[in-house]
Symmetry: C2
Subunit: 208 residues, 2 copies
């Protein structure tokens, strides 16, 4: 399991000439780091003097950010599985018309899986940005910069996942499916770009 | 050593209520992922058909991105050491005037160290953005999205490091030192913001 690799090994494998882990896996890890930093801020707000009034919100936020963090970490493996399934499709025999038809259908399924995986990652990263918006409002001022790093990580991860959606989308023949996927992606980017910048500005203002 | 922790453990510790690892460590890891993705693209360009003409540039790029990747990974520990040294200053005795003077000097040294660490990280991340600019020009088109994720990671890491510079800078009494640090930081942000966006646009154009 890739999550059991040391950070040093993950970076070695990312840098290597192997196709995976690549940008899709990096996006999932960045997204998970974003959620983790929201959790950190919630953890350092709960039980702290002066923050009693926001404790219920912070506990709710922590539950959501922890679930999201684990979901995003799991997406590293999902990204690699989707890539492998697409590659397996390309390697199928294509000597006869029957084989060609079976292979083509498998590739189309693989392309959808390899598009759905980063789309799910983008969706989760958008959730991370929204959690950061709650963290910056009520989080402990002593660690408010960590909300800033969290939202920068979540937003970079969302944009990274978006690039990965665009790799395979053009080859998918089911245009209705692809158009819906790209429309959803665009809505996430349109929402989270300005929201991320706003959170970043709030963090800078609170840092003084 | 934190680099030997599994990715899962790093994320657990990031999310926890411990002050470190926090946003500073996350910035260094993101920056290192950015450099790793430049290395990946260089590795997948060198020796590939159609890319013979750019092989010397790609080998040079790889040498630089690998050195940078390792330097940034090492900055996780440097960030934590700087934080610990500052905390040690705050914990020094302050019963007498002599003790107060010694403690105050130690805190000032700690504040500079805790500002210099993220500034060094920001400087290294800017280098990562510049390496991505070279990767997008000549890198293998099949993995060009990985340059995009790389530059998004490097730029988010630079902005994250910048937030960490701003935490302690206001309390440093040596204003000439601080002004120089903040001016350098501003120059890095002013250079790399537009450059990152330009690289991102180039990646999207090449993805079709």
């Amino acid at each position: 399991m890739i999550e059991d690799w040391s950070t040093a090994r993950f970076l070695d494998e990312l840098a290597s000439g192997n196709a995976t882990p690549g940008g899709g896996s990096a996006a999932a890890v960045m997204g998970s780091m974003g959620a983790a930093l929201v959790s950190m801020v919630a953890n350092l707000t709960i039980g702290k003097k002066g923050y009693e009034a926001v404790e219920p919100q912070m506990k709710q936020l922590l539950a959501e950010s922890e679930a999201l963090r684990k979901r995003l970490a799991g997406m590293v493996a999902e990204d690699i599985a989707a890539f492998d399934s697409l590659m397996a499709g390309y390697k199928m025999p294509k000597a006869t018309d029957d084989e060609k038809a079976v292979r083509s259908a498998a590739i189309q399924r693989g392309l959808k899986a390899a598009t759905e995986a980063p789309l799910a990652c983008a969706r989760a990263c958008a959730e991370g940005v929204r959690l950061a918006a709650r963290a910056v409002e009520h989080g402990n001022l002593n660690v408010i910069s960590d909300v800033g790093v969290g939202v920068l990580a979540a937003w970079a991860a969302l944009r990274s996942a978006a690039l990965n959606v665009h790799i395979n989308a053009p080859q998918i023949k089911d245009r209705a499916w692809t158009d819906a996927a790209l429309a959803e992606l665009k809505a996430l980017l349109d929402e989270c770009g300005p929201l991320s910048e706003r959170i970043h500005e709030q963090v800078k203002a609170k840092l003084g």
